[in-house]
């Protein structure tokens, strides 16, 4: 594996930075075209209701209204998963949650569109609803969809239970019998929203001939194209999707919520349609992550060895079937080398918005429950929390709790770095506690395409197909520069539209720097091969007798010929005379992403009079394989940690008895602000991933996993009382005190 890097590890300015600090960058809502219409969506005021009838005639008669659509305008589709997505975008027959779309309008102005919404008459017949996971899973609960219950389940759970998974090996009961101390606890965590600051926005133009253009804020414009073309019944080639700059996603923009609606309105009206969600709509009708109810039982020896471990995870994922508890069940005990372990998970539907991924989806709540019980065991047995984790830590060769055997991983290195850090031995003030937690995420590879053109002036144009949500254009340019042996500034990486480069999976799973990086390195190799061929042609020697060193072709030795090196710029300048343009491309599906572990340490102070928890000090250790751009890796770690802090302390979807969301806005859904936080110190650990030429592991998601338990363990120590429910908001803490 390459280890002497010239570009990797430096911290150049991001290529998109200038446009972002000057206001020039074009986000989803920033594009307008002449003659476009403005769309608005009518949403259900009920948690669950049959749509008896919708009368749109008055709205259609209003001057300036150009199209009105309902669920009836959408034809059925073959794939049931696409059908769920479509019916989440526009209800058909039943409104399944507060905020579910039931009709939409396109008009000449936002004001006319808003007036038209009020003229749409919907007759509802209200149905019983359920929003809590345990209530939804209990027999007799109102069932969201019939006939989708997981096959292997019995009558002890309701038809809302759409998935069941079990991972592990050995027999936890055997382990508990061998243990000196066994603790079993039940936890609950609230649903939280990704909270990207940019609401969902798009501009759609679909002509009567079935040819369309779509501009939208998304983590995956190829995914948007596939889903929308299926829903609209048009060929994928006829719908060109361009991803705007994206104002945050964190998993929340890995599906569609408004794009099929805008396309359908555009088709009906024969004009371009702009559709922008309000923040209230983002909360009520785009996907939050799951809420959970979890039992964890762990048995430990006096010396701190885990003898047996068992988790039962019940996740609530909203109004449609989904598959995500599996990730939680696989993550729960991933940090430990265990003989007897089992993690089971149940996916449950409720009358809430359909869940979508949120950074390491499914893992944070599972790991919160496990790491809380670990902490309690350490307290009870008088053990050091880091030493105990080191004693049980997974390492290279460990058979993971979810099946595969780990290759090189950096958990032990992260724990040792945490133990040696001055933070761990710093004195604690009164009412303050120090919490520690491990965290884990799989990371993914997936399908990827990259196209690289060597320009005649010696610069390089690189097109990739993954929206840049964390600085990936910089890291990809850096890897291209490293592979080609030229300066970073000579490369411009852009995110192409769906017609300009091959298919690429969604920007998720911490996959982009890993997968697009591999494709970029391979595209560079292809271009280098061609440049060596051109040099050979000029020198009139065999192409095999030319090698690429430091950005230039040179003969492999004196026997090959005695020629001075020809740089990339020199070869490019005369490429027109040596055979035409030079380019390299690569398409593939790399799969050796390499899992990532992190360890977080936090000092929290709990005010006994107000119940307010403040974060006094925070240090996050994470194995990232190889940090391409360390500043952006640190940014991922800091950002993930703070999202986890919000999850632990304040953020939650609050539903009333009526099944309506009570806090669809940033005033009552409280995201961490700057004054809630200290500087977050990131510590980068580099244990190279053997599955990437430069050792890269994904780094974007792991950091949201440890904070929940780290904060909870700190609060438990500060208060002397342990909380079993997130968020640990001040009223709940006061009550516990």
């Amino acid at each position: 594996m390459k280890q002497d890097f010239k570009i990797l590890g430096t911290r150049p300015a991001r290529p998109d930075g200038l446009d972002k600090v000057t206001g020039k960058a074009m986000f989803g809502a920033d594009k307008s075209v002449t003659g476009m219409l403005h769309a608005r969506i009518l949403r259900s005021p009920h948690a669950h209701a049959e749509i008896v009838s919708i009368d749109t005639s008055k709205a259609e008669a209003l001057a300036g209204v150009k199209a009105v659509i309902t669920g009836d305008d959408f034809a059925d589709v073959e794939s049931r998963w696409t059908r769920y997505t479509m019916q989440n975008c526009m209800a058909q027959g039943r409104a399944l949650y507060d905020g579910h779309a039931v009709a939409a309008v396109a008009a000449i102005s936002k004001t006319v569109a808003a007036k038209a919404l009020k003229l749409i008459e919907v007759e509802y017949s209200v149905l019983p609803h359920v929003t809590d996971v345990d209530e939804a899973m209990a027999p007799g609960a109102p069932v969201l969809h019939e006939g989708v219950k997981a096959r292997k389940l019995g009558d002890d759970v309701s038809g809302n239970t759409v998935g069941y998974y079990s991972f592990g090996h050995g027999n936890p009961e055997t382990g508990f019998a061998e243990a000196d101390e066994v603790i079993e606890r039940t936890f609950k965590t609230a649903a939280v929203h990704q909270g990207y600051i940019e609401p969902h926005s798009c501009l759609a133009d679909l002509g009567g001939d079935g040819r369309g253009e779509l501009w939208c804020s998304t983590q995956g414009h190829y995914m948007v194209r596939e889903v929308c073309s299926e829903i609209l019944g048009i060929d994928a080639s006829q719908l060109r999707v361009t991803a705007s700059e994206i104002g945050g996603g964190f998993g929340g923009k890995t599906t569609v919520f408004i794009e099929p609606v805008a396309l359908k309105l555009s088709q009906k009206a024969g004009k371009p349609v702009k559709l922008v969600m309000s923040r209230e709509e983002v909360f009520r009708a785009s996907g939050p992550t799951m809420s959970s109810s979890i039992d964890v039982k762990i048995g430990m020896s006096k010396a701190g060895k885990i003898k047996g471990a068992h988790a039962k995870l019940r996740y609530q994922g909203g109004a449609f079937p989904y598959q995500m508890v599996m990730m939680g069940a696989m993550s729960a005990f991933a940090a430990y080398d265990l003989e007897h372990v089992q993690a089971e998970g149940w996916d449950v539907m409720t009358n809430r918005p359909k869940m979508i991924s949120y950074r390491a989806p499914g893992a944070p709540m599972a790991v919160y429950a496990v790491e809380s019980v670990m902490d309690e065991l350490c307290q009870k047995l008088g053990l050091d929390p880091i030493d105990t984790r080191l004693l049980n830590a997974a390492r290279e060769g460990t058979k993971s709790s979810y099946g595969p055997t780990f290759k090189a991983i950096g958990l032990v290195e992260a724990l040792e770095a945490a133990k040696a850090h001055p933070h761990y031995s710093a004195p604690l003030a009164p009412n303050t506690g120090r919490g520690v937690s491990c965290g884990f995420w799989f990371n993914f590879g997936g399908q990827v395409s990259v196209s690289m053109a060597i320009n005649a002036d010696g610069t390089v144009s690189l097109i990739e197909g993954n929206p840049d949500i964390g600085g990936s254009r910089a890291s990809i340019s850096m890897m291209a520069a490293e592979a080609l042996g030229i300066e970073y500034d000579r490369i411009r990486t852009i995110v192409g539209d769906t017609a300009s480069v091959g298919f690429s999976d969604v920007t998720d799973g911490s996959r982009v720097t890993f997968a697009v990086g591999i494709a970029t390195i391979n595209a560079a190799k292809a271009a280098i091969k061609e440049m060596c061929k051109r040099a050979a042609k000029i020198w009139e020697i065999d192409a095999e007798a030319v090698e690429w060193v430091d950005g230039a072709a040179q003969p492999t030795g004196h026997n090959a010929g005695d020629f001075p090196p020809m740089s990339l710029a020199e070869i490019a300048a005369i490429s027109g005379k040596t055979g035409g343009p030079i380019a390299g491309h690569h398409e593939g599906a790399p799969d050796k992403a390499g899992v990532s572990f992190g360890v977080h340490m936090v000092d929290v102070e709990v005010d006994p009079e107000t119940g307010f928890t403040s974060i006094k000090r925070y240090t996050a250790f994470q194995d990232v394989g190889k940090a391409i751009h360390p500043a952006y890796v640190e940014g991922q770690i800091q950002g993930g940690a703070v999202q986890g802090i919000g999850w632990a302390l304040n953020e939650e979807y609050i539903y009333g008895e009526d099944g309506l969301l009570q806090n669809p806005g940033f005033l009552d859904y409280r995201i961490p602000v700057a004054s809630d936080l200290p500087m977050i110190e990131p510590v980068i650990i580099e244990v190279p991933n053997p599955g990437h030429p430069y050792g890269v592991r994904g780094c974007g998601e792991t950091a949201i996993v440890p904070p929940l338990a780290a904060v909870a363990n700190g609060v438990a120590q500060a208060m002397g009382v342990r909380m079993f429910e997130l968020p640990m908001s001040p009223p709940k803490i006061l009550k516990a005190l």
Binding site: I246, R279, S675
Partner: protein, 155 residues
């Protein structure tokens, strides 16, 4: 519809607005100054922060009519006259004070208002001042660093 006139980034502008038209909509839709972003509609997120008469204002909760005759500055007016980056913009660029960049215009405008009043704010003062500007990506670390660097560069 009513006619409003104001100075935006040093230039006289005017346009037809409804009584309900927000300053953010007037800037974005009438003047095509789309650097002022709208993230929450209710003044918590601060992506729409601009200056009116030198004071920091959430343009999503001010009517365009209220700014009639006023002096408005937006992110598009923060660069130097020769087009080079202003000190605060340069600090955000250099110190990686952004990830997705959606909150950045509001952060730059908020930072500018702070440094106009307090040329050497402490870390706590910076953090307190940013309470009305939410960033979901960075954890604020590099934003605070960028503002500290801008304060040093300006003094």
């Amino acid at each position: 519809m009513t006619n409003v006139s104001m100075t935006v980034n040093g230039k006289a502008v005017s346009g037809e607005v409804e009584g309900r038209t927000l300053l953010s909509d007037f800037l974005r839709e009438n003047l095509h100054l789309t650097g002022t972003h709208v993230g929450c509609d209710t003044s918590q997120c601060g992506a729409c922060t601009v200056h009116v008469a030198g004071k920091m204002v959430k343009s999503c909760t001010m009517l365009a009519l209220e700014a009639d005759g006023g002096d408005v500055s937006t992110i598009e007016g923060m660069a130097n006259e020769d087009g080079s980056l202003g000190v605060i913009q340069a600090a955000f660029q250099e110190h990686h004070g952004l990830q997705c960049g959606f909150c950045t215009p509001g952060m730059v405008m908020a930072a500018s208002a702070l440094l106009a009043e307090n040329s050497s704010p402490s870390e706590a003062e910076i953090r307190h001042h940013l309470d009305g500007n939410i960033c979901r990506c960075t954890g604020y670390h590099n934003i605070v660093k960028s503002i500290q660097a801008a304060a040093s560069a300006l003094s």
